[in-house]
């Protein structure tokens, strides 16, 4: 039983990270209807910003960790907005496949530039948050895991408030529903799309820092697998649906941790995709998504 709870805790903390990345995918998909492949590399850049920023704050303090987190989020928000402005906006009205290829190009560009500028070898991420472990009823809990869950929950609540309680959030939902109608109602679509990219990239950066705190070895290709899995999580929850992305992330992280702890551990990278295939074949709209009918 205690082992089950232990795995559940590990799974939830991994899932919270997937959820943070998945939110970026799902918001961009909701607004622009395309898979932003570069998102997983924004996640990587986030942890590298944290790596360099972490050298300037005292290790193991809460405020130091928070400063690193905020710096990485701001840096990645700027990066996300720049990517959208220079790579995606010129193709906004072009065929979706071209935007997809551009996204892949940007993703490769970030990975290879990362290998040139950060170096291809893995780096050890500094312990920016205070780290202790304690036992609760036979379950080993580390403060890092708690930090992940707390930060993720706070950010998700913040996101929910932005999307449903602010003017720009309303504009985002309007653009997601019907871009042209939104524009006719006086919404500036470019601003909304930039804001969406900034917000999504900031969440990816937070995910990157939290991932690096728990798995402290970072390299320029670290984003690929978590990125793909986070996208699976977004689809699992229903793409374009913000609570769905959070739910999908938690489910996927938990499933993966349980598989990793079982005799099938070498298949853990395949399980996310198996989940993806099953969900797309039987419930393509995702767990919380609503099915849409194509109109002729």
């Amino acid at each position: 039983m205690s082992e089950f709870l232990q795995q559940l805790l590990n799974g939830l903390s991994l899932g919270a990270i997937y959820a943070l990345i998945a939110l970026g995918y799902t918001m961009v998909y909701g607004v622009l209807r395309f898979i932003n492949f570069a998102h997983s590399d924004v996640f990587m850049v986030g942890s590298f910003i944290g790596f360099y920023a972490g050298k300037y704050v005292p290790e193991g303090t809460i405020w130091g960790g928070m400063i690193v987190l905020v710096v990485a989020m701001l840096g990645c928000a700027a990066l996300g907005i720049a990517i959208e402005r220079f790579a995606y906006r010129p193709l906004r009205n072009g065929p979706t496949l071209n935007v997809l290829i551009t996204a892949i190009g940007v993703s490769l560009l970030l990975e290879y530039s990362g290998q040139v500028f950060f170096g291809a070898e893995p780096r050890t991420f500094p312990a920016i948050f205070p780290s202790h472990t304690f036992q609760v009823g036979g379950v080993v809990v580390s403060t890092n895991q708690l930090a992940v869950i707390v930060v993720a929950v706070v950010l998700m609540i913040g996101l929910q408030l932005i999307v449903f309680r602010t003017k720009i959030g309303t504009a985002m939902r309007a653009v997601a529903l019907n871009p042209r109608a939104a524009q006719l109602m006086g919404v500036n679509n470019d601003v909304v799309v930039s804001f969406t990219f900034g917000l999504g990239s900031a969440l990816a950066a937070a995910g990157g820092i939290l991932y690096a705190v728990n798995y402290p070895s970072i390299d320029p290709l670290m984003g690929v697998m978590p990125g793909l899995k986070a996208f699976v999580a977004a689809v699992l929850g229903g793409i374009g649906n913000i609570p769905g992305a959070a739910l999908g992330g938690l489910i996927l992280g938990t499933i993966e941790t349980f598989v990793n702890g079982s005799q099938w551990s070498t298949y853990k990278d395949a399980i996310a995709f198996a989940v993806l295939i099953v969900i797309l074949l039987f419930r393509p709209a995702g767990l919380l998504g609503r099915a849409t009918v194509e109109k002729v």
Partner: protein, 315 residues
């Protein structure tokens, strides 16, 4: 692309392949290696173009089919080869026969996998299909990582180097021949119809699912053959060599060539294989430049580098 006499063109191409192979020992080995790589990429890109370009489905799992072909044909040469050819390794004719059998095994296994993957997933469209094919590609890779008979994570080593420039050029010629003839046949018009308007095609009585599956299976077959050629060329294969990045590389060739334009796709495959070689002197930055070029090309020529016709599709 249409040839005036496709069968003659095929025979001519195979004769040229034979000629090149006859004089291959006078050609610089580096150049020959690069040419073999180009040929394999041409097969992959042209076959993927049948699905992504002509039929309008977006597959991101081509490397998965390639890996099935590579593994199974390598297994045939490694496990059956010594039994049939004996310790001496057999004569050249026997080796080539062996290789043909290995390539066919790889191709048909990949085609069978294409059928298994295609039947359920081709009900999906667009981004979702892309993701499911990507998922299948990754699952295939993880399975190969776990099958001990096929080397597990270390991969297969010591595969006999059967791939010659003749085999690569001839296989590329056959691929181009089959794909162009298929698309230009009466039956093949169905692929284009499926791409242009699926609902309208169904309304006039075309079984679009059938067309998609046929395109998928044929394309998987040639990916398997290309995988077999690749395995017997590099002599060592690992599961990580056939990951998501490899699929993307092939998709990029198809898109840069202009979807559904075989000549353009061939040119793009040649260019994109040569580009990293040409950029080798600035090794550190070559992949950065490659990816930057990719983004810039998409922004400047969204219809594909070698597509000179105005695109009629807008969405």
């Amino acid at each position: 692309m249409r040839f005036p006499r496709p069968h003659l063109a095929l025979v001519a191409a195979i004769l040229v392949a034979f000629g090149v192979s006859h004089y291959s020992d006078r050609i610089d080995p580096y150049f020959l290696d690069v040419m073999t790589g180009v040929g394999i990429n041409v097969i992959l890109a042209v076959s993927l173009n049948l699905v992504n370009g002509y039929t309008g489905q977006f597959s991101l799992g081509h490397a998965g089919f390639m890996s099935i072909g590579a593994y199974l044909s390598a297994a045939v040469s490694l496990y059956l080869g010594p039994k049939w050819l004996g310790d001496s390794g057999g004569t050249l004719t026997q080796q080539n026969g062996m290789f043909l059998l290995a390539l066919c095994t790889g191709g048909f296994a990949a085609a069978a996998a294409g059928l298994v993957v295609g039947v359920p997933s081709l009900r999906l469209k667009g981004d979702y299909l892309a993701l499911v094919t990507l998922g299948f590609g990754e699952i295939i890779r993880v399975i190969f990582q776990n099958v001990e008979v096929l080397g597990g994570a270390l991969g297969l080593n010591g595969i006999p180097a059967y791939t010659t420039i003749f085999w690569v050029l001839a296989a590329a010629a056959v691929t181009i021949f089959v794909v162009t003839c298929l698309v230009n046949s009466t039956y093949g018009r169905g692929f284009l119809a499926t791409r242009d308007d699926e609902i309208a095609s169904e309304a006039v009585g075309l079984n679009t699912t059938n067309y998609k599956i046929v395109a998928f299976v044929v394309s998987a077959f040639f990916a398997g053959v290309a995988g077999g050629l690749y395995g017997h060329f590099k002599m060592t294969i690992t599961p990580t060599g056939f990951d998501f990045t490899k699929s993307i590389e092939i998709v990029v060739m198809v898109i840069l060539g202009g979807m559904g334009n075989t000549l353009g796709v061939i040119l793009a495959a040649v260019l994109l294989t040569l580009l990293p070689e040409l950029l080798r002197p600035i090794a550190e930055y070559r992949m950065v430049i490659y990816s930057l070029l990719l983004v810039v090309l998409m922004l400047v020529r969204p219809q594909g580098l070698f597509n000179f016709r105005r695109s009629t599709r807008t969405s």
